[in-house]
């Protein structure tokens, strides 16, 4: 069953949450399960209206744990599936994000960050979940997380998140914040034919030969879905390539967990996306992401006007961390400035990659993101 309505191709004025919802539909997402939470609720509201128009499914589950579990079930049943939440809900989802990693379930989880910990500040922005994105579930694993800076990127990166999830059979996180979610901006939605869509690769062997977790050269196994006649088993337990539990076997555990990490790490160059602004000759580099990068851009421009050779490295991919990019700019810059709406999260990764180059951290909590002036002042101090 496919809907007759089309995507709203052309220029629109919309909020980040709505752009994200439209991006999901454009990417081919046909299953959304969620639980209302500020500031992500409008994604659910919009999809409750739009999904059926495309033959897709919207369901409001009883909680966030159920939402992510249903998303995994729908993905294994063959649909592109998504949920959207905010910090407290993201915390609840962590166990089944681990299950998604372990069972290599393509899916997208949108976390619209607000101030925490706990219920914190439901209507104010934060960047306090970025370490939870990487380390929130137990065990070792690789994951992909993207950080949109604009409403347009809420659309574009939602599409990209689905493509990455399908390519690498990994839950992919879209880490927006309250401002990009609630801000209204111009968004240009290209014709459907111009939107790049990636679908999971399917097995090319007979059901009797199929091993659901046997990787190919890119370390990603082809994926059969329920009802296609492959009759496979998947489990959150440590399993061999056939999907059978091997909980007492350290060799199987090592092979599996290393591959789950390496399918992301070894493909990092293909996954990672950054924006480089005036970096060619920059002495002072601001490393920023999300809404904060917009103030950073303005600060860098003003610094240039004032004769300071400033530049910006905007992290579009947060995980895997763009280590090589940071190392490269660290090699040429005198100082790095990291403004973040938390008490210090991505700055630690920057410090690790920057090695000798001094890194100054500009922390802000609680209300609004950094102003360009605040970042400019820090750039001046470092120059």
């Amino acid at each position: 069953m496919t809907g007759k309505r089309t995507l709203p191709t052309g220029a629109h004025f919309m909020s980040g949450d709505i752009a994200c919802a439209e991006g999901a539909i454009a990417a081919g997402c046909r299953f959304f399960a969620g639980y209302p939470i500020t500031p992500a609720t409008e994604i659910a509201e919009h999809l409750s209206e739009r999904m059926p128009e495309f033959g897709g499914i919207y369901i409001q589950m009883e909680d966030e744990i159920a939402s992510i579990a249903a998303v995994l079930g729908a993905s294994y049943a063959g649909l592109k599936a998504m949920t959207a939440t905010s910090g407290p809900g993201f915390s609840l989802m962590q166990e089944n994000i681990g299950l998604a990693v372990m069972t290599e379930t393509p899916c997208v989880i949108v976390d619209i960050m607000r101030g925490g910990p706990s219920t914190g500040q439901p209507t104010l922005p934060g960047q306090q979940d970025v370490m939870q994105a990487k380390w929130g579930s137990h065990g070792d694993y690789g994951i992909i997380a993207l950080a949109p800076s604009s409403v347009q990127e809420m659309f574009n990166l939602t599409v990209e998140a689905f493509n990455l999830a399908e390519t690498y059979r990994v839950p992919t996180l879209l880490m927006g914040d309250e401002i990009v979610a609630h801000m209204w901006e111009k968004v240009v939605i290209p014709p459907a034919s111009e939107i790049r869509i990636v679908n999971r690769k399917k097995p090319h062997v007979s059901p009797s030969e199929y091993a659901p977790f046997m990787p190919e050269d890119d370390l990603v196994p082809p994926m059969a879905c329920f009802g296609e006649g492959y009759r496979f088993h998947a489990t959150g337990l440590t399993h061999d390539e056939r999907g059978y539990p091997r909980t007492q076997n350290s060799e199987v555990q090592t092979r599996l967990v290393r591959r789950l990490c390496e399918k992301i790490n070894k493909n990092a160059d293909k996954i990672i996306n950054v924006e480089e602004v005036m970096l060619e000759d920059a002495d002072i580099v601001v490393v920023a992401y999300g809404i904060v990068a917009r103030a950073a851009l303005s600060a860098v421009r003003r610094a240039r006007e004032a004769g300071i050779k400033a530049g910006m490295l905007r992290l579009i991919t947060l995980w895997p961390f763009p280590e090589k990019h940071v190392a490269r700019i660290a090699g040429q810059a005198k100082a790095i400035v990291v403004p973040e709406m938390n008490c210090g999260q991505i700055v630690r990764e920057v410090e690790r990659a920057a090695k000798e180059t001094p890194v100054s951290f500009l922390s802000k909590l609680g209300e609004e993101p950094h102003t360009p002036q605040e970042i400019l002042d820090m750039v001046r101090r470092c120059s």
Partner: protein
Amino acid sequence: MVQEVVHPFAKYLRSAMMPHIWCPGCGNGIVLNCFVHALDELQKDLDKLVVVSGIGCIGRTAGYTNADSFHTTHGRAIAFATGVKLANPELEVVVISGDGDLFAIGGNHFIHAARRNIGIKVICANNFNYGMTGGQQGPTTPLEASTTTTPYGNIEHPFNLVHLAAASGATYVARWTTLHVRRLTQSIKRMLQKEGFCFLEVVSPCPEIFGRRNKMRTGLEMMEWFRRASVVENFSDPSKAEISPEKIVVGEFVNTEKISYERLLHEKIAQINEKAMGW
């Protein structure tokens, strides 16, 4: 000439996963056996069957069944199965799990799936304790029963699972013990032919862990209790369906028809699309 003998039900089992992990005298094998019999009698298409389970001894059933199967995290089998059933209503989705998994950590998912009337079939092996983690108290542990975490006797009132299922809106609710193999198989068959949310409780012996601490050391002794105490009271009031040392009320409690959530949903989607055609 030696003739290879293949068990007639071998095709229903994932032989590469055998031997199973269950203890001698455990009821889980009987549950699996009855499930497989029901599949065979109905000639169910195994390519369209999905078996989902949570964590615990009986949770391994998913892996042992030769169909598409998924072993979820503790308590989440029904939520996962909900996603499967909505995404592809053509699939027969069966959840087989334990009392702790479905009703302690998973209790919220159970009542909401029943309320929505999603067409998944839930089989709960109720062994009154957490067998796999070593026999702790659970949501169905009888009052005064001894478990590894109730060494002085359990003081929590247990759930009456059939009452809970009926009150939550399940369209089929039954309880049998593992002694009632034929009726158990019949109940599974009946569930598999129904549209909405169905629930079957199987009172199941866990001699190794629960029985040993409660004066029933072998599977046989536990089955002896089932034989002595079971009373068939079909369509009786599920709120009165007690489980005690003296009496285990078994039977079919609910069997009604109600349109399933997935059918309502897909009908709604079709209507919206039809309207949209003139748009």
